[in-house]
């Protein structure tokens, strides 16, 4: 057990990475062998995530240095800066690890039946594992260069998954757009890392934060990093790729690509809070995040309500909901240098923004799965061609209802709890911003009510008389997420106290992150 606890950060990435390359071999033994192997690896990794979570929440930041005599030895003897590849897992990294692992498990379960009989499955499962590795690595890494490496890994795997249905022209187009925006963003990230490395000769986030002088070049690097991560997380006006990509990706992969977007959001928070949050007034970058958040909320929802393609509508809602997260955390960032405002409402605003990440990933993944369940049975995403599906797809209707109510912020589902935190804290900062957030929730409800009416209610359509409910493994995948949505809604205090507040504390406490590596350095 001690071995597992000690080496969990490395094993969490190594195990699925090895599995990704083993899957094509295991696939030769058949579909069942591949399914069992993929699920077993992901299940084992989830257990390691749980072990690491217990350790991080009870003892604090975990530093894992590759190649060191002892993994926790961040600085080699005689050195004043870290030179080895390092994972640094704090409350925020662990929070992302839990989000990513839960979504990956549900997506894997859902995909088992969804893909049955389709070609290219070994590659699909390999890419799923690689995407998981990319996201987990990005969440755990303690240095900027490996942040770039894992970002690239996630982007390439995500592209392969988005374009999985190579027989469909729009799938290839969606994949192409994803790789173009990912490559351009990654180049900007690399350029920014170059600017930082050229000045400080270090790549460790903690060391960079320790030595940061906030020069003109540093601020340019911040601008490049912020822009690149906003592009990857699909913040308005850099959101246009998201509907094209989310819409065409197969069901199990859309939630994974969505989670990859929020991993970029994590990277944005890590850079703004941990790398730059120490000594400069973060009001300017906070306001930039708030403006992107408000634009994303408003334009995302207004575009969503206009769509007739069910997945495209949900993709625009993903952009809109991302705006809530940016708004909450942006308010916290804007008042980071003001201890009174931070204690009064800033910390709770960040809590709301962070809490909304996990809530949104769960209900949006659920909603994407219900959309693909409909596509799986009737072969279209066009809501104009749907009607009366609740008669034959009762479970899918129920799951859609839960997801729709949660995303609209209707109590007692999880979306309400995080939105309430955001409304009330942002109200202290700016009542106008809070009013916009509430208006966006109203339009969200209208948008999902429209699709519910058009797709599920109404008379039985002759064309869909023979439609049946989707297979059991797809229902289990949706069921896990629906259970999370309900549980998080009924016990928000437990979730906030256990995993959200430590994540917020990790973002605010820059000194703790730096000291975990540079503690002995004057």
């Amino acid at each position: 057990m001690d071995f597992l606890t000690t080496h969990a950060p490395a094993l969490i990435v190594a195990l699925p990475l090895l599995a990704a390359f083993a899957i094509p071999l295991v696939s030769r033994a058949g579909h069942s062998a591949r399914s069992i192997f993929s699920l077993a690896v992901l299940g084992a990794t989830a257990s390691l995530v749980a072990i690491l979570a217990v350790d991080v929440y009870s003892t604090g930041i975990r530093v894992y240095t590759f190649g060191a005599t002892l993994p926790e030895m961040a600085l080699p003897a005689g050195y004043t800066v870290p030179v080895r590849i390092m994972f640094q897992v704090d409350g925020m990294s662990m929070f992302m690890g839990i989000v990513i692992t839960t979504v990956a498990l549900a997506a894997m379960l859902y995909s088992l039946q969804f893909l049955k009989g389709q070609s290219g499955q070994p590659r699909f499962y390999s890419l799923m594992m690689l995407l998981y590795v990319g996201m987990m690595g990005l969440a755990f890494t303690g240095d900027m260069f490996n942040m770039f490496v894992f970002l690239e890994l996630a982007s390439i795997a995500g592209t392969g998954l988005a374009a999985y249905r190579t027989g469909m022209a729009d799938a290839v187009e969606g994949g192409f757009k994803y790789i173009v925006i990912s490559a351009v963003s990654a180049l900007m990230v690399l350029f920014a890392i170059g600017l930082l490395y050229s000045q400080y000769n270090v790549l460790s986030i903690a060391a960079l934060a320790h030595y940061m002088e906030y020069s003109m070049l540093d601020m340019m690097a911040l601008g490049l990093l912020a822009g690149a991560f906003v592009m990857k997380l699909a913040g308005v006006p850099l959101h246009m790729w998201a509907p094209d990509t989310y819409t065409v990706a197969p069901a199990g992969t859309t939630p994974m690509i969505l989670a990859a977007s929020y991993t970029s959001m994590y990277a944005l928070y890590r850079v703004t809070f941990t790398l730059y949050g120490g000594h400069i007034d973060t009001a300017a970058i906070g306001w930039i995040v708030i403006i992107v958040g408000v634009l994303s909320m408003f334009i995302g929802v207004m575009m969503a309500v206009h769509q007739t393609d069910i997945k495209r509508m949900m993709a625009y809602h993903a952009i809109s909901q991302g705006g809530y997260m940016l708004l909450g955390v942006g308010v916290g960032l804007a008042v980071l240098a003001d201890p009174v405002a931070l204690a009064s409402y800033g910390r709770d605003a960040i809590n709301g923004g962070v809490f909304h990440i996990i809530n949104h990933v769960f209900y949006k993944a659920l909603l994407f799965m219900t959309a693909e369940a409909i596509f799986f049975r009737i072969g279209t995403r066009d809501t104009n061609k749907m009607g009366g599906l609740a008669r034959n797809m009762k479970w899918t209707t129920l799951f859609y209802g839960i997801g729709a109510l949660a995303i609209s912020g209707i109590p007692p589902f999880n979306g309400f709890a995080s939105k309430l935190l955001i409304y009330q804290t942002v109200l202290n900062f700016s009542p106008v911003l809070s009013a916009i957030a509430m208006f966006v929730s109203l339009v969200t409800l209208a948008s999902f009510a429209k699709v519910f009416y058009a797709a599920f209610t109404g008379p039985e359509m002759p064309a869909y008389r023979e439609v049946r409910e989707v297979p059991r493994s797809m229902l289990i995948g949706m069921g896990i997420l629906a259970a999370c949505v309900v549980f998080f809604g009924l016990f928000p205090g437990l979730i906030v106290d256990t995993i959200v507040a430590p994540a917020t504390e990790a973002l605010i406490n820059q000194t703790g992150y730096i000291d975990a590596v540079m503690g002995a350095v004057p």
Binding site: A284, M303, M386, G387, A454, L490, L494
Partner: protein
Amino acid sequence: MSLLEYGYAVWAPLVWILALVVVGVIVLILRNRGRKSYKKGTAQGDIFLSGIAVPAEEQRHVKAANIYWGFFEALKGFYKGMMRPHTGIVNDYILWFVAVLTVTVLILLLTS
């Protein structure tokens, strides 16, 4: 565990559910006081359209494109403006990216 406390307010979902159950019971009681002579599946439940023949099932259903028609009609100008930048061309996405990067870097340089 269930309570979400954040400084100046409290959200208690279990209390909210309890209240919902009470309201639900009241609604059921009121519903049961309704007309008893209604029989499901008889002519009482047939659609009546002022004597006009009732259209086929697929024609009776309001399509998604027709829902909120007035809303979209009123905001036609807004949506025309919104559609313009959503070209679907990846070159345009990169142009937006360059513009946003430039503005962000300038703001950060001017405010630091």
